[in-house]
Homo-oligomer: 396 residues x 2
Amino acid sequence: MFSFEVIAKEGDGRVGRLVTPHGVIETPSFVPVGTLATVKAVTPEDLREIGNQVVMTNAFHLHLRLGEDLINRMGGLHRFMNWEGPLITDSGGFQIFSLGAGKEHGVGKMAPIFPDENDRGGHYGLGKKPLVKVDEHGVDFISYLDGSIHRFTPEGVIEIGRKLGTDIILVLDECTSPLHDFQYTKRAMERTHCWAQRALEAFERTSDGTQSLWGIVQGGAYKDLREESASFLSDKNFDGYAIGGSLGESKDDMHRVLDWTIPSLPEHRPRHLLGIGKVEDIFEVVRRGIDLFDCVAPTMMAHTGTFFTKESEGFQMHILNAQFKDDPRPVEEGCNCGTCRHYSRAYLRHLFLAKELLGIRLAAIHNLSFMESRMQEIRTAIKEGSFDTLSKTWNR
Amino acid sequence: MFSFEVIAKEGDGRVGRLVTPHGVIETPSFVPVGTLATVKAVTPEDLREIGNQVVMTNAFHLHLRLGEDLINRMGGLHRFMNWEGPLITDSGGFQIFSLGAGKEHGVGKMAPIFPDENDRGGHYGLGKKPLVKVDEHGVDFISYLDGSIHRFTPEGVIEIGRKLGTDIILVLDECTSPLHDFQYTKRAMERTHCWAQRALEAFERTSDGTQSLWGIVQGGAYKDLREESASFLSDKNFDGYAIGGSLGESKDDMHRVLDWTIPSLPEHRPRHLLGIGKVEDIFEVVRRGIDLFDCVAPTMMAHTGTFFTKESEGFQMHILNAQFKDDPRPVEEGCNCGTCRHYSRAYLRHLFLAKELLGIRLAAIHNLSFMESRMQEIRTAIKEGSFDTLSKTWNR
């Protein structure tokens, strides 16, 4: 039911075909984030029309808010959220960071550079008190909803994934902070490896072949650790590999982490870069051989009236700017999305000024379409050997 | 380009066919309200899928927020909001009440009974200071957005309607408060009649046949005045008639107002009841010969997770109630709307608990579909002579 095949390559960049029981994902692919069983402000019909192939949800948040047993009784997560395509569940490992050291240190995964990516799922109030306690066997979370305590273990996360019925289960890992030192990052990585092994054993004991389990490489921005982690996990029989944890403090750091990690991962397994995917990142991560990546930016930025476009500064157009007041043009000339086909900048600006919810949805549709269009162009370019040329047109 | 024909009758209830340049409206029809050029939380595609035939926007709010010149430069209101079906524009007459005496008296059109219908377009802060000054020639509004002063006249409202390009223009009237006495209500009615005559003259001077002008009957909850107003306006050459103003303090009062008014209106012209349309009202107004009515309730109540259903108390289901936590059923069994076809009560409750915007959209789709289904059933029933039987199944 699962397979992955590399169809074309240009340098290290590659086009692949990832088969899951809920459909095929052509890679490289951008993965919209639907933390709480909904990609913010859009419907599954919107996603299908946009061309999105897969959605990423979050086992931790769904466990806290609904419980996997309830979703299981409702027919599983696909049916519950009416998305019949492939689903990935993130494990809670990122929340060990965002509700723990990230909260304590007051930083994001690449903070202070991307403060809006501090978490994929919500706002937990101010203050630096961690809501997380990690030990060798697992982690205790204090719920940000009601203060109740929730134990997560590698085996428990497999159990949640089973009940949700998602196609791709990510192992429980410990995501570290950019401010953690080498010693702590190493200890956390070793714990992550131990948990990965336990997760794999629990997964194999209960597998009926309808779900896959992916490992997560850790090791922060330390070359030795990234190489060690990638090698350790590559020797295990995971169906795919994600790259998580701190990526340093700059784009250059992030690129270095990928350069240290990817060569040690198996060529014939898919690779997912967790939580990254601004417009300016796409070409650099694909160039290095990433197959999947997820990011909240297209939908989060939609909430404030920020539209992605090629021509604008930073690839972002802020629709509330006065210059768009009577601009009859679509957000992006030539864009074939439902928003650009039907609505002017003037109308979209009006919706955001008047705080009409339709504006957010139309912005999300455009931004997700923008990402999907880039991915389609990239897949075509790699097949034709013109990826490098294409990427130069986006290089600022 | 405009015509209206009564196709079938049962008692005073009737099925009609209202032809406009942007399409045919089968009546009786519920009219969704899109005050600010968007029916809250849904797209025109959603409306088409639901089966909505016409949308009501508001000349006053669009003038204040955008200006009719801007919308005209963007290709007119149909194109601006991407709704190619028939459009009605309310005139600002209701705002003479809601921003004037209604604000001062602290009441709605039928207040204190329907406090959520105080206005069709927004919230203007607390306090009782009126933002309106009426004289014989027109009205000055103080903008709730920036304090600027805007003069509205009968002729000016025709001019706005021309620039917006809507199919049905409602005349500027003076909507009174349920707390206004007979003398004031009579004076306001006479002013409304004078304005109606001026509007008709301005309309006829500039008509190219692509738009129609409807008069508005006033007279509060006073029998003499309602009869006088309906007779006065019936003698004029309006394309249709709306019934506006105070409808008293109870459902019985409202029914009496209709019983006094409708017999004096011409049989061969369509009749629109302004701002009314809760589920329990539908059958009573159709029974009395109303062809069109608009109401914000389906979309406004969607914002708080209130879903219309036949079986619930007051025809309203509050999805946040704990009993729906693990309820796998759709909101309404047998409902064919996009929400009920795909989503469980448990999922919808989750969306509202988590404050996910998708919930509001799915609720609006259901509520608008619920109203549209009732109207389809009613049209069929009147044709078959079974309207009275049908209405008894909804009588509580």
